[in-house]
């Protein structure tokens, strides 16, 4: 399949793409979902995305995205700038709700529970789906408060000692404890860029989420800090389902088990990372990963 001159063409081809989004046993076709959701959940599909489309005003940014994101795995979203991967990521914790004029159709379910159901409490959803941003954005508070804020907010701890433990545990898990244990009262922004990003990760895991979304978490960091973050991601996948957006193809290849290639709002290809990077089905994927464009 070649790139069409008119973007309108993609809409017509959506069904065809959906067919290509097959990933191992995780069939993304509607029938499977409707007939046997329980079986799907048993196959450890944490997030199920069904026919998700998104518009910013009149501009459509996502076209019928279908993805099954496996549990306790790292799923990378790659693709050229403006392809919709970040927009898609923000659908998973409904951060797009905050953007005016956004229209979303289709559905995402977390553990077989629709997150776009009218009865879903967005605040609750976000306590289950954590997010790490491109630029480290620790709260303008101390290191300790950065971690302690959300658990306290969601009532996850009942005593100061418990909170202290949680802060320590989270910082340890984010590989930051050794570096900051003696300056928990220092402002979070006084840390280096890489430390700040790990602080944000520690902040996200402090509420024990099911899913952690990462939007180019290492793009603002130097190679050394990037390596540390990547190691961390590798460790974290034992506990959490991680969805990571990245521009760095090597990074996607290094950290993820599954990769989805986005292009102009469509998911062109979704497969386990090794297959996608070595023997892509689609010409477009191959062009992108071999650096012909993007």
């Amino acid at each position: 399949m070649t790139i069409k001159g008119e973007s309108g063409m993609y809409r017509g081809d959506a069904a065809e793409y959906a067919g290509n989004v097959a990933l191992g046993n995780h069939q993304a076709s509607d029938e499977t979902v409707e007939t046997n959701p329980a079986a799907e959940a048993a196959q450890a599909s944490k997030l199920r995305v069904q026919d998700l489309s998104l518009w910013y005003g009149d501009t459509q940014a996502l076209f019928d995205v279908n993805l099954d994101i496996p549990e306790r795995e790292v799923t990378a979203l790659i693709g050229p700038s403006g392809c919709g991967k970040s927009s898609f990521l923000r659908c998973i914790n409904r951060m797009n709700d905050l953007v005016p004029n956004v229209t979303i159709r289709g559905d995402i379910s977390l553990d077989a529970e629709s997150i776009y159901d009218p009865s879903v409490d967005v605040v609750q959803l976000r306590s289950h789906v954590g997010m790490v941003f491109q630029k480290p954005n620790p709260f303008p508070k101390s290191v300790y408060e950065n971690i302690a804020y959300a658990p306290r907010l969601h009532g996850l701890v009942s005593s100061r000692a418990e909170l202290d433990d949680l802060v320590e545990k989270s910082l340890k898990r984010a590989g930051l404890w050794r570096e900051v244990s003696d300056r928990l009262d220092a402002p979070g922004t006084a840390l280096s860029g890489g430390q700040q990003q790990r602080l944000c990760i520690a902040r996200a895991i402090a509420v024990d989420p099911d899913v952690i979304l990462m939007d180019e978490p290492a793009s603002a960091l130097d190679p050394l800090a990037t390596a540390t973050i990547e190691e961390l991601i590798d460790e974290l996948k034992a506990h959490y389902t991680i969805v990571i957006v990245t521009h760095n193809l090597q990074q996607a290849a290094r950290v993820s088990g599954y990769t989805a290639f986005f292009h102009m709002g469509y998911v062109i290809e979704y497969n386990d990372t090794t297959t996608l990077f070595t023997t892509p089905y689609e010409q477009k994927t191959e062009d992108y990963i071999t650096g012909r464009y993007g």
Binding site: N93, M95, L98, P100, V123, Q124, L125, R126, S127, G130, M131, F133, K135, N137, P138, F139, P140, K141, Y149, A150, L153, H154, P187, G188, T189, C200, R203, A204, V207
Partner: protein, 389 residues
């Protein structure tokens, strides 16, 4: 050669000359502004500083029967009577009646002299009534006239006798008025700004409100005075000339300033902070309370202080709601008749006696000192509270 040839290149030289010229223009503008400022301050201070001391005469007061009967003129010798301030003697009969022990005693103390003598000795007027001049010279030679700090200027209210007039009542009035302004404008202004900036969606209604708030900040202050007169005094029956009427009026005027500066402070909080908080599962109010407000607080407080400083110097709307009244005693509560510092200056500036011109300048010095301190406090607060995140 390629890099060093600029000296002879006319084009390069033209460019450098243009830059020099522009620098010169900009610098002269700054110098001119500075010169104006210096002239202004020098003028005000040179005219006003003499109000902070006054001429006093050493007088012997006899608390005799005639004083008790009300003839206070009998308390001092004829010579002293011609020079001492009438206002000082007037109170003597009451003092004797209130304190009978004083009767029959006498007391020597330093008392302020009449305004015109004070002005003559300060060199502000050249001539003095011949007879009076003779008395003054005699007393001066006897060492019974001298300058002393004029503390009464800070404690007394207004008076028809310039030597006794002070800013005390006006300062109390100003404090009351600013208090009411703060109570009215700060919560409403900050709440409005938070709502518009953090909660309201961007639609035609909020845009209309925003445009109108900006317009309101540019409305001439006298219009607010008319509004205050019509709404607070005529409609709601707030007592005229009271600090309450003035404070409400000035509060309305300060509102847009606080709203605009608060919005600016809120807007300065980087969006990733909000996004991070939302992503952690904060409600909008929690985002504002725990993350946005702590960061923007210095900006909000600075804006508020600057708004209050402006309110402090405001006169025109207060004339309309009657805070220009002749007030001898400080107001006892927010509904009693009061005046404020700038209004007091305005009143004095309109008096014919030279002694009041001196008072007006001194009042301006006090007003400017207070305003500069408020602005300095704003800067200090910003430096102190603003933590670099």
């Amino acid at each position: 050669m390629k890099l060093k040839g600029t000296v002879n290149d006319p084009r390069m030289q033209r460019r450098y000359r243009a830059e020099k010229r522009f620098r010169l223009y900009a610098m002269s503008a700054v110098l001119l502004a500075l010169a104006f400022l210096i002239v202004f301050f020098a003028d005000i201070i040179s005219q006003g500083y003499s109000a902070f001391y006054r001429t006093e005469v050493q007088a012997t007061i006899n608390y005799n029967d005639r004083v008790e009967m009300g003839d206070y003129r009998a308390a001092v010798s004829d010579e002293i009577r011609t020079v001492v301030s009438r206002g000082m003697l007037r109170n003597l009969p009451r003092e004797v009646r209130d304190n009978p022990d004083l009767k029959g005693t006498s007391e020597t103390s330093w008392m302020p002299v009449k305004g015109e003598i004070d002005q003559y000795r300060k060199g502000h007027v050249d001539s003095l009534d011949e007879e009076l001049l003779a008395s003054v010279q005699r007393l001066d030679e006897a060492g019974r006239l001298g300058f002393a700090p004029n503390w009464a200027f800070f404690t007394n209210g207004d008076s028809k006798l310039p030597e006794l007039a002070g800013i005390g009542a006006a300062v109390v009035g100003s404090v009351y008025l600013l208090g009411i302004t703060l109570i009215v404008a700060f919560p409403i202004g900050v709440m409005t700004a938070i709502y518009l900036e953090e909660f309201a969606s961007d639609n035609w209604l909020t845009q209309t409100i925003e445009v109108n708030i900006n317009n309101l900040a540019a409305v001439p202050s006298i219009i607010f005075g008319l509004l205050g007169l019509a709404v607070f005094i005529n409609f709601f029956g707030v007592p005229r000339s009271s600090a309450l009427a003035g404070g409400l009026t000035i509060g309305l005027m300060t509102l847009p300033i606080i709203i605009i500066s608060t919005r600016a402070a809120l807007r300065a909080v980087p969006d990733p902070v909000r996004m991070g908080a939302f992503a952690m599962g904060c409600t909008r109010w929690q985002v504002v309370r725990d993350h946005v407000l702590p960061v923007s607080l210095p900006g909000i407080l600075t804006g508020t202080i600057i708004g209050l400083a402006q309110a402090m110097g405001e006169t025109a709307p207060l004339i309309l709601v009657g805070l220009i009244a002749y007030i001898q005693a400080p107001p006892t509560d927010i509904t009693s008749a009061a005046t404020v510092l700038p209004a007091q200056v305005f009143t004095w500036a309109g008096m014919p006696q030279t002694a009041f011109a001196e008072k007006a300048s001194a009042g301006i010095i006090v007003l400017l000192t207070v305003l500069l301190s408020m602005n300095a406090a704003a800067v200090f607060m910003r430096r102190r509270l603003e933590r670099r995140w």
